[in-house]
Symmetry: C2
Subunit: 530 residues, 2 copies
Amino acid sequence: MDATNQNTAPAPARPQLQRAACIGGGVIGGGWVARFLLAGIDVAVFDPHPEAERIVGEVLANARAAYGRLTDAPLPDEGRLSFHETLEAAVAEADWIQESVPERIELKRKVLAQIDAAARPDALIGSSTSGLLPSDLQEGLRHPGRFFVAHPYNPVYLLPLVEIVGGIGTAPETVEDAVRLLEPTGMKGVPIAREIDAFVGDRLLEALWREALWLIKDGICDVETLDDVIRYSFGMRWAQMGLFQTYRIAGGEAGMRHFLGQFGPALKWPWTKLTDVVDLDDQLVDRIAAQSDAQNEGLSIRRLEQIRDDNLVGILQALKSGDGGKGWGAGRLLAEFEAGLRRRAAEADEKVDGDQNEGLKPLAVRVSPAWIDYNGHMTEHRYLQVLGDATDHVLQAIGADLAYVKAGASYYTVESHLRHLGEAKLGDTLTVTSRIVSFDDKRLHLFHRLTRAQDGAEVATGEHMLLHVDRASGKASPAPAAILSRVAALASGDAPDGEDDGIGRAIRPAAGPDRMALAQGPGATPSTRR
Amino acid sequence: MDATNQNTAPAPARPQLQRAACIGGGVIGGGWVARFLLAGIDVAVFDPHPEAERIVGEVLANARAAYGRLTDAPLPDEGRLSFHETLEAAVAEADWIQESVPERIELKRKVLAQIDAAARPDALIGSSTSGLLPSDLQEGLRHPGRFFVAHPYNPVYLLPLVEIVGGIGTAPETVEDAVRLLEPTGMKGVPIAREIDAFVGDRLLEALWREALWLIKDGICDVETLDDVIRYSFGMRWAQMGLFQTYRIAGGEAGMRHFLGQFGPALKWPWTKLTDVVDLDDQLVDRIAAQSDAQNEGLSIRRLEQIRDDNLVGILQALKSGDGGKGWGAGRLLAEFEAGLRRRAAEADEKVDGDQNEGLKPLAVRVSPAWIDYNGHMTEHRYLQVLGDATDHVLQAIGADLAYVKAGASYYTVESHLRHLGEAKLGDTLTVTSRIVSFDDKRLHLFHRLTRAQDGAEVATGEHMLLHVDRASGKASPAPAAILSRVAALASGDAPDGEDDGIGRAIRPAAGPDRMALAQGPGATPSTRR
């Protein structure tokens, strides 16, 4: 995949991101903390707010839950989280310091000057401001060249966008470094060519927000109607293609120029002139607050957050299958993030294992909301998905990985036997242990056992026969000696007690004291087919 | 589910939608044609454009492909599509006439007067206008009460929103009827309380578009950056929650009022004053066209449409799992649409079958892009998904349907045996035939065979043992006589030739002339475990 190319090792002299500091730990600051920690980066926090630890903890809990559903890729061990008494202590060791204090320029300038004085001179300093100019913020810093705006969107742990905006004093390589350092966190640093109040995203949001306030104030619609208009139509277009690419399609084969020709005159129509700033007086605030209460009756903010995060996870996963499986937009970014996680996990495994063989390691898999049926149980075919992941895990361990498949051969599953022994529910973690039961030069016979991590209860077993196939001819072919020797090494060891119950079994037809036979035709005498 | 309540039978006197007429068959008109046809509604088209049939045909092909991936629910037989030489012939029989001619008020008025004169007096007349006022359009009609704006969004066959806007002369029940009649097409009619130029959606779009043009003109960013800013951030928020619900979450426990208090002052900041209308001169058109070409290098409009439709299908499916499986936003609408399809198919089945039993009918399933792995083949667990759907189909046929499950009992799969005999690829249609192999009062033993529809090649088989379970106790329990008699009736008939190959089989361990035994430990002598 091209994806992996974007994560090649940087030149050694450029900054690395192993330790971050977050100054300010509200919803945005806490979101940064979660992004960094879940990417394996240590985070030092400074926030004088008495409840800072609780708030950060809540955002982090949401983020952990979302990541558990977002990806099956091997997340690194979480970075170390520490809270500090002083700003100076928090920033002292950091490679990247992210400022997320309230949006008041005097406060931000004061905090940034403190950071600048206490940080290593080569550390990067980003500000989460959603509207203040970087040139105004960097005035008076001793090292302004390493300062920039890094403006994220809520929820920071799921939405990838970070607008990267440099000021007059920002060194060009700072912007490049910021984009590069964010990559392993799954974020997308988007450099903005010129600084402007509110940058690009909030300018667009503000324009639409202003128009929305007029529509509510003038009684054209209520907030629920307005939200429905967005989410049943262009909201879904914008989740994947944005504005200009969507309009390119609308222009059709005639092209963008033709489309603009059509659209242009509309900009002069009377309805484009409603551009005054709406007066957000008490009456309008009351109306919006009341309509918002009605729209969200029975839905707490906590529940809305869960629903939003589930939806975002689902949209990200859907976009990961986009463009014929290559991934599209934020889904492509997720695929690249996962490729990076897998590559780093494989490298770490190699370092730890050396030439030693430690046998097949168990897989841990979390039951995702998308896997649940109307009974609240894990849907049947998701068991085979987990078993398939376990089979892939064994194939990687014997060297039949993606690179091997690309080189022209692969193991294909030809037969599977599943037994359902218990129920998996939302949020359960399943442990999958795997064993090579038998093999020859073409065949590989696997057995997987799924147990619930919290109580060890057996949930399902899978027995699978795989065939080694030459992909060009499509026929079975002997596996090479390198693979077979790893198979032989891993196939050692006795089966655990009771495991033979699940192996080599056929489905037995219905029979017993309460047997009713197969009818040979309507009204036929009970008899037996098998 | 609440979903089905929304489709209860209307009072008999209200209009029905069985025959539609589409006047104008471009991208929007063709999208309406596709929505109606795929919902089983006959459509008569009038469009004097010489290529109208080709253009409608292309939109329809896209829509059919998208629906094939969107849902496994039983789509009704497509409505009958006819093209007519005169407007009068097209509208004569129609229950709903949708006008989608170019956006020029004189032209629309002339066409609407013609429609009004030729249509049945009780037929509804909707206009696809994206900005003209319904009061202006209905002036001079003989029956203005049945006229309204029904403004859809491209692609009309996937995006559910229709803004329903009445004018001064529109009867209130017309708006209600329009919303109700659109329901079985999967669309969401959203009534707008007061008419206003450009209604709600295009007013919001226009505000953002105007701001976007300034950002490009002033060189703040290029079109790709602007699209990235949207799709990596608030685009994904808006696909599911819109504007106000998103901000409600941003306000946190402090609520909407608190949020507005914070946001309000920003409306007076300098950056909100950039509200002039941009001059879309040649230079700006050239810049946007060139940047758009660069953004979409190598992607034809046709390819972009496919990518967009795949993404929208994926987003809709993701949202269908939202809110703990109840469905959220456009995904909830999709769940309701599917529930309606299933209910109507079941009703139609009952009508056709009467008391006769025609045996188990084969299922037809289309391989979706989301089911394809990096080899271009259908992913392993998707076979079990198709087999699970086939099992559900059998359970419905024996009366163990969703209502039965709700009443307290269900069949659970306890064991499955899959054989992979061929490969399924993107776009293949699979035919699944099912057979009851054996049963007793608690057990149900099924065999499914998957063949490729185009050449009859066998792709996979599934053998499954199900147990009848009392849901309260979680224990096996005898099925009631009503179910067992249907099982007995459907279990009649001999197995087709060769089928026994796939039944009652166990996975055989690797063995043969080229056998390599299981190693008992590293370097152990070859020997045999089983």
